[in-house]
Symmetry: C2
């Protein structure tokens, strides 16, 4: 019986464990394996993005969330403590290989992370911005517009569930969508 419980615990840990990790100085460690997390959606050239392209081809925003938080959300319509969102901003091109129109994704331009850690952050959530190849990032000051915008316009708990098509109905069914 004990072995069986340990086995289940091990299974869950393998598939789901991805907690935010911080340096002693409070910087967030880059979430190295986020490309294996759950994809929520992608936008192109969205005007609310934090890292819009200054000119030329528009940028894609790919949003990922850690698997344990995703499964918790599917069950409850709520983001648990230790939820980690990754917004990966990618450059785009129109012409390449056989493609002659529209846009496809190329290099990463920036990675923004939105973390829920209720003991660490007043309000529960904090933002971090990673430049290219940066392994740690300082918290973005709470005076930045990302905090007020997410707080005012995020459909669920300061997050933009209104742009994640597979989660909208989950939140509505759980009455957490505003």
């Amino acid at each position: 019986m004990i072995k069986a419980i340990l086995c289940i615990a091990g299974t869950v840990a393998f598939a789901m464990a991805a907690n935010p990790e911080f340096t002693a100085g409070g910087e967030l460690q880059f979430p190295k394996d986020y490309r294996e997390w759950i994809f929520l959606s992608s936008g192109l050239g969205m005007t609310y993005g934090p890292a819009a392209a200054p000119e030329g081809d528009p940028r894609f925003d790919n949003v990922f969330v850690n698997p344990s938080a995703y499964r918790s959300f599917l069950a409850s319509g709520r983001w648990p403590d230790k939820t980690i969102f990754v917004l990966e901003v990618r450059k785009s091109r129109s012409e390449g290989s056989i493609n002659k129109g529209g846009h496809f994704q190329t290099d990463t331009a920036a990675v923004e992370v939105h973390v829920k850690d209720e003991k660490r952050f007043p309000g529960g959530w904090a933002f971090f911005g990673f430049g290219r190849d940066e392994q740690t990032a300082k918290q973005i000051p709470t005076s930045a517009s990302c905090y007020s915008c997410h707080s005012q316009h995020g459909a669920v708990d300061t997050t933009f569930v209104q742009f994640y098509p597979t989660l909208i109905d989950v939140a509505k069914a759980n009455k957490t969508f505003r």
Copy 2:
């Protein structure tokens, strides 16, 4: 010892197992959990897509692959037998919530699946197209243009790795990129 082995097997199965499943008549079962698979990339309005929008807002193509195939590819630059690609075609909108430009994703328009099963299909791969809410799909005939186009233009083993930015360097390092 036996219990330990079973435990490990169970763990791997939980996280990675996603083999193509067919009906007795050879139809492919809809891969229900593909939104928890590995996201490879997304395009908007790409001209080579199989389900371009007839008019109005362009469509997004989200590409997912089963986790076991992804990990095998990272290690070898090759797609193993039982690889399953899912191309999810989604409608888009420009205006919604705080967004006033660019495009974000809305409802699913179609799901196309590309499966590698060397015993089942001459050439190794086959395509399947699922309409909305369809749970099984017949194989698309090999005379269809998707076969010849993927065969002629796919960078790796009839797949469009040239459009998956995190895999291009893996394939090049393994000398499987053409």
